[in-house]
């Protein structure tokens, strides 16, 4: 029995990497949803664009342009909110087992009760690195970063884990713009291509174990980035 899987995209760097790599790897998805609040998209320098190309995606191409250029069918909503009633209404009408969600945060009861398993790619090896901007903390602590793919639950980063993948720290400074989307998208492709979506292989987390980090202070962020580029 083949499983059904979809993705919810948002207009940001992470979604750009996800959709471009999914298409590059000829991965078929059953549903593509774009939450598009029509924000002013970030502008990138040629150096940032080149670094993204070195990492397998083009940061300068918007999600919507990628979808349109490839004639991909997608459903668009004019907001970015996973708990929005209009999105829930739509999700109730489709039949999918898994939905990859490019954003983070906490799903409310209404979304969780739809019966869809939402997959999040969290940029930290849990339970050691839960919370926000974990890749910076991991780079400072261990000179590397990691990603955990898990099934989202009602708490922060505590759902059953699917796979975990470690990455060496980068030798460039564009961590938010390139490295974060890169490590998450690489993990996503591994998840989708190596038949990892087997509930029997999912690992339950103990929410009481581990550490939760909060958004990194710019001083620690600078030290983390400088540690990446200082050996160049």
């Amino acid at each position: 029995m083949s499983m059904s899987i979809g993705i919810i995209l948002t207009p940001d760097e992470r979604s750009k990497a996800y959709i471009q790599k999914i298409l590059k790897n000829n991965i078929q998805l059953d549903y593509i949803i774009l939450m598009n609040d029509h924000r002013v998209e970030n502008k990138f320098s040629s150096e940032q664009i080149q670094e993204s190309l070195n990492n397998g995606f083009d940061i300068s191409i918007s999600v919507i342009d990628t979808l349109k250029d490839r004639n991909i069918d997608y459903k668009e909503f004019p907001f970015v909110d996973i708990n929005h009633p209009k999105l829930i209404e739509y999700l109730e009408t489709i039949s999918t087992e898994y939905m990859i969600f490019t954003g983070g945060g906490i799903l409310q009861h209404e979304v969780l009760s739809l019966g869809i398993k939402f997959i999040h790619l969290h940029p930290g090896i849990v339970p050691e690195y839960r919370g926000s901007t974990c890749f910076y903390y991991s780079i400072l602590n261990e000179d590397k970063a990691g990603v955990t793919a898990f099934i989202m639950d009602e708490h922060l980063d505590t759902g059953d884990t699917i796979i975990q993948k470690s990455f060496q720290k980068p030798h460039y400074k564009y961590i938010d713009e390139v490295y974060d989307p890169y490590i998450r998208s690489e993990t996503l492709i591994e998840l989708l291509t190596k038949k990892n979506l087997m509930p029997t292989n999912f690992v339950e987390q103990n929410p009481l174990e581990g550490e939760t980090y909060y958004i990194i202070h710019p001083i620690l962020k600078h030290i983390a980035i400088l540690s990446c580029i200082s050996n160049d």
């Binding site: 938010d176 909060y214 958004i215 962020k221 600078h222 983390a224």
Partner: protein, 194 residues
């Protein structure tokens, strides 16, 4: 270039620190200079007292006690600072307070963690100074960057309101928390970059 994270009153205009730009080593140098200016100013105006003496003075000044499930923040922070042995219950409350602070960048005078409620007053700078002192101790003992991260944010608030911190005890403690923070950052820089 200035260290912009202490330029405005951070209790009036809280800083979220979301996707802050990378500005190179110059940013770190500006931060260090900004902290040093305050340290030198304090040292030029008062005789900086020992931490334990200043804590004792603040404890004696405490005129209100916790009631029921309500935690009087200052009383709790002073109790934490006098605690010598590891205490899981206190550690748990420190983590809860840290989480609350990280969410809204304020420390309220009273909390009821069971009902997830807090008082409305968040301008008592002693609470920020005492919690910063706790974060220095926690980071010193555990090397957990979570505490250094919160310490930096608390000290940003303290520096952004330095003119409202007037007593000798408070300013002595500010001197200590800023000195500790700078030494931890210097150590981390040495370890990761130099």
């Amino acid at each position: 270039m200035v260290y912009r994270y202490t330029e405005s009153d951070l209790l009036k205009f809280p800083q979220k620190y979301q996707r802050t730009p990378f500005e190179g080593i110059e940013f770190i140098n500006n931060y260090k200079n900004s902290r040093r200016v305050i340290l030198e100013d304090i040292k030029s105006k008062i005789d900086v007292g020992e931490i334990s003496d200043e804590i004792r003075i603040l404890s004696l000044e405490l005129d209100k006690k916790s009631e029921g499930d309500n935690i009087l923040t200052k009383e709790f922070l002073l109790k934490c600072l006098s605690q010598k042995e590891k205490n899981d219950e206190i550690d748990n409350l420190i983590n809860k307070l840290l989480k609350k602070f990280e969410i809204n960048k304020k420390i309220f005078s009273e909390y009821d963690f069971r009902k997830n409620k807090q008082s409305e007053d968040f301008e008592d700078m002693q609470n920020y100074i005492l919690f910063a002192l706790i974060c220095t101790t926690k980071f010193h003992n555990t090397k957990n960057l979570k505490f250094l991260n919160t310490l930096l944010k608390l000290n940003d608030i303290i520096c952004s309101r330095i003119n409202s911190i007037t007593t000798s005890s408070e300013r002595s403690l500010v001197f200590h928390v800023l000195s500790f923070e700078l030494s931890y950052i210097e150590e981390l820089l040495k370890m990761k970059i130099e």
